[in-house]
């Protein structure tokens, strides 16, 4: 008994070399290859010259390492007649993502707080509509929103796209903020009420300082979601303000001139780099964001 207190806990570890373990590790490794192969092939292709791409196979390591495809993808790859690379699209995406993330989270956090702490009659009806709205195919709302944005005079502008991202991010964000604020101890809210704080006072002085974890989850969700958006980017912007995903698609699927697969793959990696970085840095929080969105209650 005493040994259990000081020694390692839990059941005795099984030997790795048991048959069932071989099956488990064998299967999981093979499956892992399916998930890893595309990334590997992308990276390898992007580091080869075109002549090497043509003679070798997609899995071969580059013989003569070259970074030229990356530079070309960034600054001089062509979409049709223009040859300006992805740089402009990257800047557009940053300009779109930053305000969209801030505005959508600001609106949704206040929504969630109002729903959780200051319920009014009918609040839950609107919230239910909001949640069901998340399941309606975007195609139904695409065109009327074009009209609304045009009436507001912001169609094709950054402001228009920020509005669109705030609208479509609202269901999931409101849900996670509402659930988070509901889970905080009610005494906190009551105590602040007794001290005479009002709606905004409690939000800024009590609730917001306690919401760092959920804010991070919301930021992860929104940055990856908005960065990866393609549909809104193509419908609600003008060609000169296309986000990176749209420009990437235009570069790679351009029918103009000879296909440069190495440049295309470099461009693809560059576009995926921002969400990938966020994914690898955030780790468990990314998973939490997905779970928060998926498991409703």
């Amino acid at each position: 008994m005493q040994n259990d207190m000081i020694g390692p806990r839990g059941p005795k570890p099984r030997s790795i070399f048991r048959l069932s373990n071989l099956v488990v590790y064998g299967t999981i490794t093979i499956l892992a290859l399916y998930y890893l192969a595309p990334l590997y092939v992308m990276v390898v292709t992007s580091l080869k010259s075109m002549s090497e791409v043509r003679i070798g196979n997609v899995f071969a390591l580059p013989v003569n390492l070259t970074f030229d495809p990356w530079f070309k993808a960034w600054s001089s790859a062509c979409t049709g007649l223009k040859c300006e690379g992805l740089m402009g699209g990257f800047l557009n995406s940053v300009i779109i993502t930053v305000p969209s993330v801030i505005v959508s989270i600001a609106i949704a956090s206040v929504n969630g707080y109002a729903l959780a702490n200051w319920p009014y009659r009918g609040a839950n009806i609107f919230f239910t509509i909001l949640i069901f709205g998340a399941f309606v195919p975007y195609q139904l709302m695409l065109y009327p929103i074009v009209i609304i944005l045009r009436e507001l005079g912001v169609f094709g502008d950054l402001a228009g796209l920020v509005i669109v991202h705030s609208i479509f991010g609202m269901p999931i964000l409101t849900l996670i903020f509402r659930n988070y604020f509901s889970s905080l101890p009610a005494e906190l809210f009551k105590a602040a009420r007794i001290d005479g704080a009002g709606f905004w006072g409690i939000f800024f002085k009590v609730m917001l300082p306690m919401s760092l974890p959920i804010l991070v989850v919301a930021i992860i969700l929104q940055v990856t979601g908005i960065w990866n958006d393609f549909l809104f980017g193509i419908v609600y912007t003008r060609p000169e303000s296309y986000p990176m995903t749209v420009q990437l698609n235009n570069i790679v699927n351009s029918t103009y001139g000879e296909k440069e697969y190495n440049v295309n793959m470099a461009a693809t990696i560059i576009t995926g780099l921002v969400p990938l970085t966020i994914y690898f840095i955030s780790g468990k929080l990314f998973v939490r964001g997905i779970a928060a969105g998926a498991v409703k209650g």
Partner: protein
């Protein structure tokens, strides 16, 4: 809600109501209003601009007589069934494997989930390259000696949709895995002990005991995967652009093309309304299942 009944004044919780204006506008104007607007205008003969000229069900009749729409629907059904089956199976398999107290669990989980962080455009372009007949997997295997080996789904009308499926599964199965893993971890360890005492083998325990216990998780996964399937658009645009021929066309792309490049708004509205009907067929039973028993679940 814990709030007890209070007198209902218009000005009660006024700040809260004002703060909720964006949410109320979004719910009422966008999610309800815009949806109804599109449904209403699907009964008009709008072309370049929306015009209130009633044509009854003409747009729908034309829609169902259009080859491209019929092919789109067939493609979506085929893709949808396979995507649903495979992503649930693969997601559950991955989760079950990760649940075996293996070494490097975090590494494997990271590997299975990273594609989910990538956009459909990146996914589509990557798989377009991997499946390229002249440079991709086909060439690799041919160079190894099997010179007649054929694996170029994206250039073959009958197989192209399976090429898209490979990409869709690669991107989306990690999400199902995360859900399933959360479900597996939520199962009481006593269930496992009892099964072991009774001498039931591991895989039988999974299929006959654990799987039925995870029904709520499966329902969530089915709804999430299904709504993703219906929305499929960017992946197709990037990977195949609907081709070769019409072999990978999907409804969402039909809607987009009708509205924004063919100047045939009425068709686009009718097609998107049809998509809504499909979603309702999934969502309504689900919402009864999820919220039917409890009042005020939200």
């Amino acid at each position: 809600m814990s709030a007890s009944k209070r007198p209902n004044f218009l000005f009660q919780n006024l700040a809260s109501k004002i703060a909720s204006i964006p949410m109320i506008l979004t719910a009422v104007v966008i999610f309800v209003g815009c949806t109804l607007w599109t449904v209403a205008y699907s009964f008009t003969g709008s072309r370049l601009l929306p015009r209130w000229r009633w044509v009854g069900l003409d747009q729908y009749e034309r829609l169902w007589e259009t080859d491209r729409w019929m092919i789109s629907i067939n493609n979506l059904i085929l893709y949808g069934i396979l995507m649903m089956l495979f992503s649930l199976a693969l997601g559950f398999l991955l989760a079950a494997l990760l649940d075996q107290k293996i070494r490097g669990e975090n590494v494997f989980r990271t590997i299975f989930l990273y594609p989910y962080a990538l956009s459909f455009v990146v996914t589509g372009l990557t798989w377009q390259w991997l499946l390229n007949p002249d440079f991709g997997v086909q060439k690799l295997v041919r160079d190894l000696g099997w010179s007649r080996f054929e694996f170029a789904p994206l250039t073959n009308n009958d197989w192209a949709i399976y090429g898209v499926l490979l990409a869709g599964l690669w991107q989306g199965s990690g999400l199902v895995m995360v859900l399933m893993l959360a479900g597996l971890r939520g199962i009481d360890q006593d269930v496992w002990k009892a099964a072991r005492v009774d001498g039931i083998s591991t895989w039988k325990t999974y299929i006959f005991i654990v799987l039925p216990m995870m029904r709520p998780i499966f329902v969530t996964a089915v709804v999430l995967v299904a709504t993703g399937i219906i929305k499929i658009f960017d992946l197709i645009v990037a990977q195949t652009d609907g081709g070769p021929g019409l072999s990978t066309e999907v409804p969402a792309k039909y809607v987009y093309d009708m509205m924004f490049s063919s100047q045939n708004l009425g068709q686009g509205f009718a097609a998107s309304t049809t998509m809504l009907l499909v979603v309702l067929v999934i969502i309504i039973p689900w919402s009864f299942y999820e919220f039917g028993g409890r009042r005020d679940a939200k």
